[in-house]
């Protein structure tokens, strides 16, 4: 067992560092984009259109990852697009987690009518096809960052509510919860001191997964032009545009795809890695 566990620990450590590394780089790049981006992400220049990335013939210095068909710098657009992706990931992810986990904890620990109401609501909610639901919501609210964030929260809180409810129910049946009751602790206080710390690792994993999902959803919505305004660079938008010129300039499609892929992967691995690292029970 020890051997298996140490192996898990080692790979978990590597996972944690790689994913945290990529995400840190991305955050720095996105925050400092106005200063470090080599070009203006919106500047069109047909003289520099479809320049290849730096290692290929015909590349121009200053356009490291090449340019798209309108001559806009791919690297700069990825950096700026990262801002949108990260804002959506952080705000939508956190808000979804807060709302879903709170409802899940209440349903799972207090049970009774609260559970009845929340569980039925989750059941009904999950019967809607999520992507159609999102498109419908945005059609009503209008496009824009806020709409994207709200759409993600509205659709995905059920994921947290369901999992956290099950976890809270399991923890609620443990004797240390009964023990807290015997020593006279109130219900709310028991929820916060006994149950919450034990479901926190589950919430963390879900939260990072959710951040990855938020990034994908945002990309899908920008792909179909329902996210932020078409002027602002987004990864989904870049992928949509790059698709049209894949035979002439593959880099316009491939680099934002790689950024998207690494980011989503990093979020999910970060969650697993954090859980392994900070769970005292696993040590």
């Amino acid at each position: 067992m020890l051997d298996g566990r140490s192996l898990v620990k080692r790979t978990a450590g590597l996972r944690l560092w790689l994913s945290a590394g990529w995400l840190t780089a991305l955050v720095i790049g996105a925050v400092l984009a106005p200063w470090i981006a080599p070009q203006d992400p919106l500047m069109q220049d047909l003289f520099t259109s479809r320049l290849p990335p730096f290692w290929m013939d015909g590349a121009e210095p200053g356009y490291w990852l090449g340019t798209d068909s309108l001559g806009r710098d791919v690297l700069s657009r990825i950096l700026y697009g990262g801002r949108v992706a990260l804002i959506v990931a952080l705000i939508a992810g956190t808000a979804t987690a807060l709302i879903g986990a709170t409802l899940g904890l209440i349903a799972g620990y207090f049970r009774g009518w609260a559970d009845l109401v929340i569980s039925r609501l989750v059941d009904i909610w999950m019967a809607f096809p999520p992507v159609l639901f999102a498109i419908l919501l945005i059609a009503v609210m209008g496009t824009g960052l806020t709409s994207v964030v709200i759409a993600i929260i509205v659709i995905d809180w059920t994921r947290f509510a369901r999992v956290v409810r099950a976890e809270a129910m399991a923890q609620g049946a443990m004797d240390y919860v009964a023990s807290a009751q015997v020593s006279g602790r109130g219900r709310m206080s028991t929820l916060l001191t006994e149950i919450l710390p034990n479901v926190l690792s589950t919430i963390t994993v879900l939260l990072t997964l959710e951040m990855g999902i938020a990034v994908i959803v945002e990309a899908i919505l920008s792909f179909v032009n329902l996210s932020v305004s078409t002027d602002d660079p987004t990864w989904g938008g870049m992928i949509a545009e790059g698709r049209l010129s894949i035979h002439q300039a593959w880099w316009v499609l491939v680099f934002p795809l790689i950024a998207l892929f690494l980011t989503v992967l990093s979020f999910s691995q970060l969650g697993e890695g954090l859980k392994d690292r900070f769970d005292p029970v696993l040590h």
């Binding site: 240390y176 009964a178 009751q181 020593s183």
Partner: protein, 270 residues
């Protein structure tokens, strides 16, 4: 001796969720079918029975983790039967519980000192941390154990932490629910010895739930034998072992394999 607990015609039923119809309420299973007994102050009462006898449910009704369906549970003159949780709270420090599984009864994310100190600070006792470390010493564990986490302890040590938490509030009554059934015999004897000494030193009243009559004999003054939700025998410990009255008590006694090959237990098949 005056009675600490007076239990009269205690009944408890729970809904049977496995047989719940799609609409309407689930049928109820009667777990405690009318029990009456008293626990005098300072007595060590053994409660014995097989699975499904209702012994754990009875214990949980005594410390009001479960609410009885009917009948009454009086603790030192106060009727606990249908008190709400907020009404119970000021009384809770007087009756404590030690749980069967020390692993699941200790929050894995808290240090031992915090686990024991939590009830102390909850009831506004001064200097809870010091109180917790003193309780640790009382159960024969060094103070340095306060910094450890439950998963770093052996089974016997964990159960001693469970005892420390129960005695830290200096309660009048402790319910011990199968507290040695998961332990090895060596730590079992140790935990029982510690508990017995504490009962004497702190003048505790103890209800000791177990499926094992041989453990009960070493610890208890009096024994209740439960079978399918009813008390089938209520006797002084020595009397029960010398001359068991109920057929079920005799069956339980005969089922214990005593470590002695010379005493026949069942006939060897030919």
């Amino acid at each position: 001796m005056s009675a600490l607990y007076q239990i009269e015609d205690l009944r408890l039923s729970l809904p049977d969720m496995t047989r719940k119809p799609m609409f309407g309420a689930a049928p109820r299973i009667e777990i405690l079918k009318g029990m009456s007994f008293t626990i005098p102050k300072g007595q060590v009462l053994g409660i014995v029975g097989g699975s499904g006898s209702g012994k754990s449910t009875l214990g949980r009704a005594l410390v009001r983790l479960l609410e009885p369906t009917s009948g009454s549970v009086r603790f030192d003159g106060t009727d606990l039967t249908h008190l709400s949780e907020p009404e119970l709270r000021p009384l809770r420090h007087r009756f404590q519980m030690i749980f069967q599984d020390p692993m699941s009864s200790l929050n894995p994310r808290m240090s031992v000192a915090r686990i024991i100190a939590a009830p102390l600070s909850l009831h506004g006792r001064p200097n809870p941390r010091e109180g917790a470390l003193e309780a640790l010493e009382r159960v024969g564990l060094p103070r340095s154990f306060g910094a450890r986490f439950p998963h770093e302890l052996s089974g016997g040590q964990r159960q001693r932490v469970g005892i420390a938490r129960a005695i830290a509030l200096r309660p009048d009554f402790i319910l011990a629910d199968e507290i040695v059934s998961g332990l090895d015999v060596s730590s079992q004897a140790q935990v029982l010895t510690i508990l017995r000494d504490l009962v004497r030193e702190m003048n505790l009243t103890l209800a000791f739930i177990s499926h094992d009559l041989s453990v009960i004999r070493r610890l208890c003054d009096r024994v209740l034998v439960l079978h399918q939700g009813e008390i089938v025998e209520d006797a002084e410990c020595e009397a029960l072992f010398a001359a068991p009255k109920a057929a079920y008590t005799r069956e339980l006694l005969e089922a214990i394999p005593e470590p002695d090959p010379k005493k026949p237990w069942f006939q060897r098949a030919s």
